[in-house]
């Protein structure tokens, strides 16, 4: 199938009213850690209600790019970002932007599950509470319940909400972190290798969840598993040595990539 036909097919699969709307975009993004340049002139569009996978060998800049999307790189002193990153037509590096509010709109799930050393309930309630999202205990309870439900964890924890989140299994902890991330009702969800510490069953549950979450969120996922990228995403972007080499519909990238570097990486010829 030609690239255009693939694009048309991908567009046809997504709901018409939501698909094709630009949610975030990077234009000429450069990132420096001190003198070392980690990203070179990256242009990438992220569309609403789509999952986009960022793939590439270790140190290629995919996580760096992901962290630019909610300004997580601000926490690193020597890190400098140039270029423009836009969320709903708003430059997120503009000096008037409230970074705390930005991170509520662009949530993040990390590689290792990192629940707070608090109860399961408090893990999820923490974000909505500090952002003042609910007016009463009942409302907060509802939000915690619905977040845990959407993360596919409710049935497993509903009888022990007061127990520590750290007591759950790895896969459950990761779903707790996802529940925590979606409790603040973000618009974009960033996931940095969310399944790399999980067994195949827990991975399958998270992947199923990603597919369900796509209806309400825009998801950017960094993964080292080609198969995972192929399974969960509609678009895939391949990074190599800090540059965006190729991006396109996932089907095309994994069956017929245009760039030779992409082909070599996904078939296991360069590391």
């Amino acid at each position: 199938m030609s690239v255009d036909a693939n694009l048309a097919a991908t567009a046809a699969q997504a709901p018409a009213d939501k698909a094709g709307k630009l949610k975030m975009s990077g234009n000429g993004v450069n990132v420096f850690y001190g003198d070392k340049q980690a990203l070179f002139d990256v242009d990438l569009n992220i569309y609403k209600n789509q999952v986009i996978s960022l793939i590439g060998p270790s140190g290629c800049g995919k996580s760096t790019f992901l962290r630019c999307l909610n300004r997580m790189n601000d926490t690193i002193d020597v890190c400098k970002v140039t270029g423009k990153i836009v969320l709903d037509e708003q430059d997120i590096y503009d000096k008037n932007i409230d970074v705390v509010e930005l991170r509520a709109r662009v949530g993040m799930v990390f590689q290792k599950p990192n629940p707070f050393p608090k109860s399961i309930y408090e893990n999820v309630a923490y974000g909505p509470r500090i952002h003042g999202m609910t007016r009463s205990k009942d409302e907060l309870d509802d939000l915690v319940t619905s977040s845990l439900r959407r993360a596919g964890l409710w049935e497993e924890v509903k009888d022990r909400l007061d127990q520590p989140g750290t007591g759950l299994s790895g896969g459950q902890q990761q779903r707790l972190c996802i529940a925590r991330a979606i409790a603040t009702q973000p618009e974009v969800l960033l996931m940095d290798e969310p399944c790399s510490a999980l067994d195949p069953i827990a991975t399958a549950i998270i992947e199923e969840l990603i597919d369900e979450l796509r209806a309400n969120f825009t998801i950017v996922i960094v993964t080292h598993s080609m198969q995972q990228a192929a399974r969960v995403s509609q678009k895939t972007a391949f990074f190599h040595l800090g540059k965006l080499i190729e991006e396109g519909p996932t089907d095309q990238i994994f069956t017929n990539p245009i760039n030779k570097k992409t082909q070599d990486y996904i078939t296991g010829r360069i590391g």
Binding site: S2, A230, T255, N256, P257, I266, T267
Partner: protein
């Protein structure tokens, strides 16, 4: 176009892909010999060679099973991507088409066993021989396209399929004339007509192989690309 001239980091994966291509070449060789022998047996009314050829088809079937098993095992163990995925999937397709060409050789041979002697004109047998040469040439070129990953040869094979079809149509008319001339020719002419039709089908399988070769190199569908004007048979 992305072609894999770098080797895999996992060398055994590389070896398996090479072995798959080698198996296809070997199977292609078996099928070419089978068609050549089946045609020879028909023209010389050589029942012994016909029997040998018909019995030899089992080896072709076994080879296809082997290639299938190898391909399925690689998909399960390696989770192939991009060019490798196309390599394995097209190998399955090509092996399937080669198996069908093998069946055609078997059919020709079995039909030969029903012919006692050349009652009709030598010229008619020559027509079938010509048909066989042309189809065999198509099969060889299609296999070349596959092993060399050469989409130009693949396009050329599809272009030439018309020649095979035209030859079949002209043979068909010739056989009809002979049958109308003398009803005693009907039995032999019918056998030969079926042989010609079978060989025309072998040509169709050659174009299928060429399509697989085109897909292997470009990732595209040859007929879609012709329809969209991306490729011209000119």
């Amino acid at each position: 176009m992305a072609t894999p001239d770098n080797e895999h980091i996992v060398t055994s994966y590389e070896d398996e892909l090479t072995s798959l291509t080698r198996a296809i070449s070997e199977m292609g060789g078996m099928v070419e010999v089978a068609i050549t022998n089946a045609t020879q047996a028909l023209i010389r009314v050589d029942h012994e060679l016909a029997k040998q050829t018909a019995n030899g088809d089992k080896r072709v079937d076994d080879m296809q099973r082997l290639i299938d098993e190898q391909a399925v095992s690689m998909i399960a163990r390696r989770q192939p991507m991009a060019g490798d995925l196309r390599h394995i999937v097209s190998a399955i397709h090509v092996a399937n088409d080669l198996e069908r060409i093998g069946d055609i050789a078997k059919n020709l041979s079995r039909r030969t066993l029903h012919i006692d002697s050349q009652r009709v004109s030598k010229q008619l047998y020559n027509g079938v021989r010509h048909m066989s040469d042309l189809s065999l040439q198509q099969v060889k070129r299609a296999l070349d396209a596959f092993t060399a990953r050469d989409s130009k040869i693949a396009i050329d094979v599809c272009r030439r399929d018309d020649e095979v079809d035209s030859l079949y149509i002209s043979l068909f008319r010739e056989f009809l004339t002979y049958m109308m001339e003398d009803p005693r020719n009907i039995t032999d002419c019918t056998h030969l007509l079926f042989c010609a039709k079978n060989l025309e089908r072998a040509g169709d399988h050659a174009t299928n192989i060429a399509e697989a070769a085109y897909y292997l190199e470009t990732g595209g569908n040859l007929y879609n690309d012709i329809e969209s004007g991306k490729v011209s048979l000119g």
